[in-house]
Symmetry: C2
């Protein structure tokens, strides 16, 4: 198979971790008889530096003509980077939001998994963490407060700012269908999270999710209020299989869940549209403080590449090979510094990439 | 002093826990030479049962003519209670939102404290919990998505729902001032939480908070994105003193923080307006499953009564007496079942109230 992969190295540690993911993908291609063609694409700070804007039309076109895009991370240190002196629409994150919208990437998949070997890093008590957990957060990514109309006005000298949270039933239905489809391949449990005791958009969300659920009699659906979900993630994360929620709630809950694993350097993500196209990136940020030092953990990006093989190319044997390599390298005791613990062997970013490629 | 206290027993365990709080308040009055006059007020499910609506004009008037209101808890089991068959505007929580608005209670104070004696209940590892934590979450309570315009429409057969998130600078300034005032009496640190990389309302929030901060040169202000805050509450809760945030973010983060303490049955709250008036209630819910069994923990309500003495009546010696009684009863090893641990003496709701009254 010939894979056309768009590559967005991005900012901070982005280029390093994407480099290691390519190393692993190249090994997969060699082993399984595929060829990969990479197209480099600029986004975020790197694009501001080159073109003055965080996302260009050419970048969108390049992404669109790829089968899938692998991304490092976007943004820099908001306190020191000159990018953050620009108006909000010109900052690195604006590129990220714009590309999600331009490519119609409405379904954000964020696995939050506790690896046995890394359970020691979990901030929760052993009493709770010993049950383990493995959840998939399905976050709607192109609607809600992120993309509603907003404006700031001044009237009689008083500034007022407005943001709008809008969902129509089609936007809700398509992400709900993806969530149920994924639940069917997992433990067949969907927890839909909303604030239906306050928001109209949440009441519509709940109605439409209930409608979709009728087509999946084997899936157990429950509804949970967002404030309760923020509690349950700390109290008993093992209860969750698939969490389905809107954009802003998903932003908050997926980050909370990733911290609950204790190893955010291990967490991949996929953003999908209605075709097989997807944008794949680690859940963590660009960590500008450690950029260029060969100490970043490339595993989240490599697992994102695995999600790409699975979801965009339907190459599940190849994806399993990557996932197993990650498990093996952990068993073999290799750790980057963010997940280091006593008795393990500390390795840098490049060595971790090489160790993983070897295990494919 | 003569205290006119409005009393909202509410639903579920509400009447029991308010009963014990009154027992303690009566003892305070006796000891410190005050007289208390209680006026009973119906809200939520109890009001629906009596009047068909969750809040009546008379209830608002009764609350307004009190110096302060002490509340139990509102609502029932959403899966079984007939209240939840009513349209959203008629359900118990609608009464709660309506009374907040009617009384202008814009400042919601939610302490999240780890008590030494209850540290064993904290879901976090000892490594993290041993630092202890004691934070005050200041949540804006009458603006944002909760009170913006909302509507659900159907066009060409497609349902669309819209909620609006609005803040003007005055609404932000008054809650920010309260947060800085409270920080001045604490560890002089304010963390303002927003989503300024996406929302106009958050950018205005940040600007206004920065303006207010100029009048408090002794307070250290930092800004944090809401997704990051959801992570930091799990990773390192000790870093926080006062967290200042808007309504919906505050709903989510205060519940997360209360779960991080592991003893939600201990957490009080106050909702204040621009006068000395306030509504005081526990952070926990109405727990209909254990109602009437004399096993509920009344301490959160009793600590809410203490906040009332402090914030509405400026009776800090009296408030300290209540807070100390709570500490003493914990030291003496008495526990209701929700906070029970080995070697302690298990007591019911009424006995806990009596033990606390004795210690005033
Ligand atoms: C950078 C920011 C705009 C973005 C978001 O809020 O979606 C990030 O937090 C994420 O979750 O990918
Ligand atoms: C019952 C509900 C409307 C309410 C809220 O969201 O404000 C509750 O969760 C709270 O935090 O007091």
């Amino acid at each position: 198979m010939e894979l056309h992969i768009g590559c967005i190295p991005g900012d901070g540690i982005g280029p390093e971790i994407v480099g290691e993911a390519r190393k692993v993908l190249d090994r997969v291609a060699e082993k399984f008889g595929h060829t990969i063609q990479y197209t480099e694409i600029l986004l975020g700070g790197a694009s501001i530096d080159a073109h003055g804007v965080p996302l260009t039309e050419e970048a969108i076109e390049a992404a669109k003509s790829s089968d899938a895009v692998l991304m490092g991370s976007i943004g820099g240190d908001a306190n020191t980077s000159p990018w953050y002196k620009l108006p909000p629409q010109k900052r690195p994150e604006a590129g990220l939001l714009a590309i999600r919208k331009a490519l119609g990437l409405f379904a954000n998949l964020r696995p939050a998994v506790l690896y046995d070997e890394l359970a020691g890093a979990c901030p929760l008590k052993e009493e709770i963490s010993k049950a383990g957990f493995d959840m998939m957060i399905m976050r709607e990514l192109t609607g809600g407060l992120y993309f509603g109309e907003r404006k700031t006005t001044v009237e009689n000298g008083i500034r007022t700012a407005v943001d709008t949270l809008t969902y129509n039933e089609n936007e809700i239905r398509r992400i709900a269908i993806k969530a149920f489809d994924i639940a069917m391949k997992r433990r067949k449990k969907v927890t839909s999270v909303d604030k239906a005791n306050v928001l109209d958009s949440s009441r519509l969300w709940r109605d439409v999710v209930n409608e979709v659920a009728k087509d999946y009699p084997q899936v157990e659906l429950s509804h949970m209020l967002v404030d309760n979900c923020a509690m349950q993630l700390v109290k008993d994360p093992a209860q969750f299989d698939v969490i389905l929620t809107e954009n802003m709630f998903g932003d908050i809950l997926s980050d909370e869940a990733s911290m609950v694993t204790g190893s955010i350097g291990m967490l991949a993500s996929a953003s999908l549209n209605d075709t097989s196209f997807g944008l794949y990136e680690p859940s963590h940020g660009s960590a500008p403080d450690i950029a260029g030092k060969d100490i970043a953990n490339p595993i989240a990006t490599i697992l994102s590449a695995s999600m790409m093989l699975r979801y965009s190319f339907d190459l599940s044997a190849e994806a399993d090979a990557v996932d197993n390599a990650v498990k093996q390298v952990l068993k073999d005791g290799y750790r980057t510094s963010d997940i280091m613990s006593e008795g393990c062997k500390k390795v840098g970013c490049r060595e971790m990439g090489a160790l993983l490629a070897e295990r494919i």
